[in-house]
Amino acid sequence: MTMDRETLKQTALAVLRGIAPEVEPGDIEAAIPLRQQVDLDSMDWLNFLIGLHQRLGVNIPESDYAQLVTLDQLLDYLQARLPPPA
């Protein structure tokens, strides 16, 4: 799967809005911890990561959760691990 960063960002925000419909994508600051900006409990967070896994095919081990705090970090992480195009 090839995907530029903007498309990846839009995909991630679409998954996020599936869990938190009140989110305005334009209001998300990419460098500020996501869970400070969006009211996500641990079940929401898990569902967010599950949604990304299902949309993008990226495996996210639990031990990596600590690296995924801001949207920028999340996009870096996902971009580096996108499966190669079929």
């Binding site: 009140e22 409990d41 079940m43 990561l49």
Partner: protein
């Protein structure tokens, strides 16, 4: 003939609006099947029937608001005969749900032969009623008659047609109106709780290092869709600890405690936009963790989408609230009547902890219990929290029951 009544869907509900019928007269229904959707202030609830049977007649049209305990439909339970005459809908105590309503067997009229098949009982049907019923595709023999000697009249046919009209969900509440209704419902239930229930409160600090390490190891081998949250271990530990202090699990009704064996944990779920619901995760003590996790994820998702089942709303035997995600240290809950206890968990956070004479940094969690003094005393509450702490020190035992 049995009555299918609007069950109480929680202490904060005394009426509901029928949004949709999922069945029509003549349909066969199975125990647990959703037969109607009813709007409460909190959600549109799928109302289940608690007996097998066949729907005879729908009594409440879509869009109508009715009190808890109202007969919504008549159905024929196994072994029951067809509808013979118009029995006046019995009034029921508000707590009586369809599941506990005894079947009302209508007495056969003198000389009448009661045959237990759907089409055998002939009843008088006026010609106009028969013609209209045929035009509407209804079986007039199955309708309830209000005319002389139970005769089915044109009016009966029209009423039945209206009740069975194709589903046209009435306009849902606006978000603001729903929010207002929910605040009122929460206020009513919590005011009643504070007025009627003499609460006592206890708390206990629980080291979570072993539970988290066990969970981390378990989750490492699992795909993300099967990973479990620490909150699930806490829920399971609560259910198992209740085996030691069963007086905390059940209902206080009619000046007496009614214990319940199964633990149906009401999980407090915050709704986006405000308000909360605490639907039941059923049989927590008896189920394996993986199954509980799937059911919990499903329950949270459906609660947020406003699509819960009547059994989930009406039968939690204890509530568990977890505000740890927001970082608070502890939460002391308000008991949801007629339950008799609520368990609260605060954040799991590394803190100094003295063990074997030295101080270490350990992830700690404050667990609290608010319980009903009419049923238990602090001693039993303390035993419960001690058992809860002990169970979370041996997480491998939470997998088995």
């Amino acid at each position: 003939m049995s009555e299918f009544k609007l069950p109480s869907l929680g202490a904060d509900m005394d009426e509901g609006t029928l949004l949709q019928w999922k069945v029509r007269p003549g349909d066969t229904v199975k125990r647990g099947q959703v037969v109607a959707v009813v709007d409460t202030s909190k959600a549109a609830v799928d109302v289940e029937i608690w007996q097998d049977g066949m729907i005879e007649q729908l009594l409440v049209p879509v869009g109508q608001k009715v009190p808890v305990g109202t007969t919504l439909a008549w159905y024929r339970a196994p072994g029951e005969g067809p509808l013979a005459h118009a029995a006046a809908p019995a009034t029921v105590p508000p707590q009586a749900a369809a599941s506990v309503v005894p079947a009302v067997q209508t007495a056969p009229k003198a000389g009448a032969v009661q045959v237990a098949t759907s089409c055998a009982t002939r009843r008088p049907v006026s010609p106009a009623a028969r013609q209209r019923a045929q035009a509407l595709g209804l079986d007039p023999e199955r309708l309830q008659g209000t005319g002389a000697q139970g005769a089915v009249t044109l009016g009966d046919v029209e009423a039945a047609a209206q009740a069975a009209a194709p589903v046209a969900p009435s306009a849902p509440l606006t978000p603001a109106a729903r929010q207002q209704a929910m605040r009122r419902a929460i206020a009513a239930a919590m005011s009643r709780s504070k007025r009627e229930i003499p609460h006592y409160y206890l708390s206990e600090t629980i080291p979570m290092d072993r539970a988290l390490a066990w969970l981390q190891e378990r989750n490492a081998d699992l795909p993300i869709t099967e990973r479990m949250l620490p909150a699930l271990l806490q829920l399971k530990a609560v259910a198992l600890a209740l085996k030691r202090v069963p007086q905390l699990n059940g209902f206080y009704r009619n000046n007496a405690f009614e214990p319940v064996v199964a633990v149906h944990a009401g999980v407090a779920i915050a709704l986006r936009g405000g308000g909360l619901v605490a639907p039941a995760l059923h049989d927590v003590a008896a189920k394996p963790l993986a199954q509980l996790m799937r059911e919990l994820a499903d329950l949270v998702q459906r609660a947020r989408a406003g699509s819960l089942r009547s059994s989930e709303m009406s039968d939690p035997t204890i509530t568990v609230t977890n505000l740890g995600d927001q970082g608070v240290e502890a939460v002391f809950g308000v008991i949801y009547p007629p339950q008799v206890a609520i368990v609260g968990f605060g954040a799991v956070a590394p803190s100094p902890w003295v063990q074997d004479g030295s101080v270490r940094a350990v992830p700690l969690c404050t667990a609290s219990l608010a319980a009903d003094h009419r049923v238990t005393d602090g001693h039993q509450g303390a035993l419960f929290l001690a058992e809860l702490r002990a169970l979370l020190q041996t997480p491998e035992k939470l997998e088995t029951t």
